[in-house]
Symmetry: D2
Subunit: 160 residues, 4 copies
């Protein structure tokens, strides 16, 4: 299994000089969470963007990265706003792997609970319920990417 | 699904008057973690002990509680030191449910990451990979209770 | 002594729906910090703004509030970007009290250390070193407002 | 100014293997708090004990360390249970310095607020209100050591 960390709220940290939350070019949140997982899990960072800024070039880069991987189970950490769009993009191009998108509404650096829960859920899908396809694992929901949506008013992922 | 919260390090909070970590008669850690799980999950507290103090009477009480439940998927939050012993005790008595023991090495009140990860892993087993039996879900490992042990020197749960 | 809480980074909390840090209409950060102070300290919230949005009308409101208070020792929690400007404004109008401005670079909700340290420093000035005038208490520095500046590159308050 | 860090609850961290809070041979809590203080403050660790285990030999070592220091302002981080006893011991032996004892009821590693507030209060006394003598700075109270006591039922330091 490998985790591809593309950024999003999951990774954001507070920059006191700018007075803003930023997506750092860092995998620290992923690294800290997988310390609690006694499995052999690799990770790799790329793109490092808020998902509102994701372009189709970024999605192309994500597909190209996935296609080169030997791993069949792949967790993608991604911003929540366009997670469904990137998942659909990947689903059209990659057919022979189990790819699970996850992320969080609250940065790991602000509250470790949600990000830890979501990433563990995604990892559990890849480790224990492998099947080919592209999935979203968020807030206790794990399903095919096109059956999950973000309820933007409540800030919760739900089944369609 | 229902969570039975029996105490353990998972729940401990610091008591500044005593200068010690205590197991409170409270389900707050469970409540906070399942706020991040968009599933219908009940919970109930009982026993509320450090697992080194668990007796066979406590285990009997746990079995009696499980037998009365309508739910077939049951997560048991338990201290890590005798989790295997309580799981074996329950396994001899309850055959027709999916019972998943979990807990954590670090209290949720001190570091939310591990407890959130472990509880989510246990919930995912019950929700997405139901099978009759008694399991332990800790540190990314999910397996039959008698195949998992606590490596006491490293503080990590492992597969036998 | 009374604390007037006008907002600023000190108070910011993460809003998961908006994906932004916001200034809540709440005094929770002040309330939590003064639980650790065994002194009779009142507090009152007003304005509740990021200090980049502070107008002279807000400053006028702050002066009017201060003038009506019986307390002679007043701590003002304020955003860091225009703290010096508001302090200068108040200093021209109020002469017979000890007014100490403070705030923080990092929200209390993200890291409790800096906000707790700065507010305690401001309180200590009012309680133990009362003198008429308007002061800034930040980062271990306590001095007349016009002798303190924010080094915007390093994010640290310094003596001129 | 120099901080002498002798241990106590202030410094405690959770040891997941032992399942206990321990006093580490480390000054990390002091180091993190003084990052928020823009003053030239040295620190040195010694003894590193829970104050219930402090002996007169430890107090003798503390006095000997203080007597060798060039600094006149000295903050001593100490456990809360025998802080008054150690302060009285030092007061009988050292007359020509400003020595301020502080600590906390809750470990910095569990909640950063109280430890940050107490240490800042002690530092403010040394920096801004220097006077010869031995003081206790806790919970917003700063006074001669023999005028301050720990209310053990409420867990709060108070003036006699």
């Amino acid at each position: 299994m490998i985790i591809l960390n593309t950024g999003g709220t999951f990774n954001k940290i507070y920059d006191p000089i700018k007075g803003l939350l930023i997506v750092p070019k860092s995998n620290r949140a992923v690294e800290e969470i997988i310390k609690n997982i006694n499995q052999n899990i690799a990770y790799k960072g790329l793109i490092y963007k808020d998902s509102l800024e994701f372009t189709d070039e970024d999605r192309e880069k994500l597909v190209a990265t996935i296609e080169k991987l030997d791993e069949k189970s792949i967790v993608v950490v991604h911003g929540t706003d366009t997670m469904d769009k990137s998942a659909a993009y990947v689903a059209q191009r990659v057919k022979d792997k189990c790819i699970i998108f996850t992320g969080s509404m609250i940065p790991y650096s602000i509250d470790k609970a949600e990000a830890s829960s979501n990433l563990t859920l995604a990892i559990a899908k890849g480790l224990y319920a492998y099947e080919e396809g592209v999935f979203i694992a968020m807030h206790g929901i794990v399903a095919k990417h096109n059956r999950v949506y973000k309820d933007r008013q409540r800030g919760v992922f739900c089944l369609k």
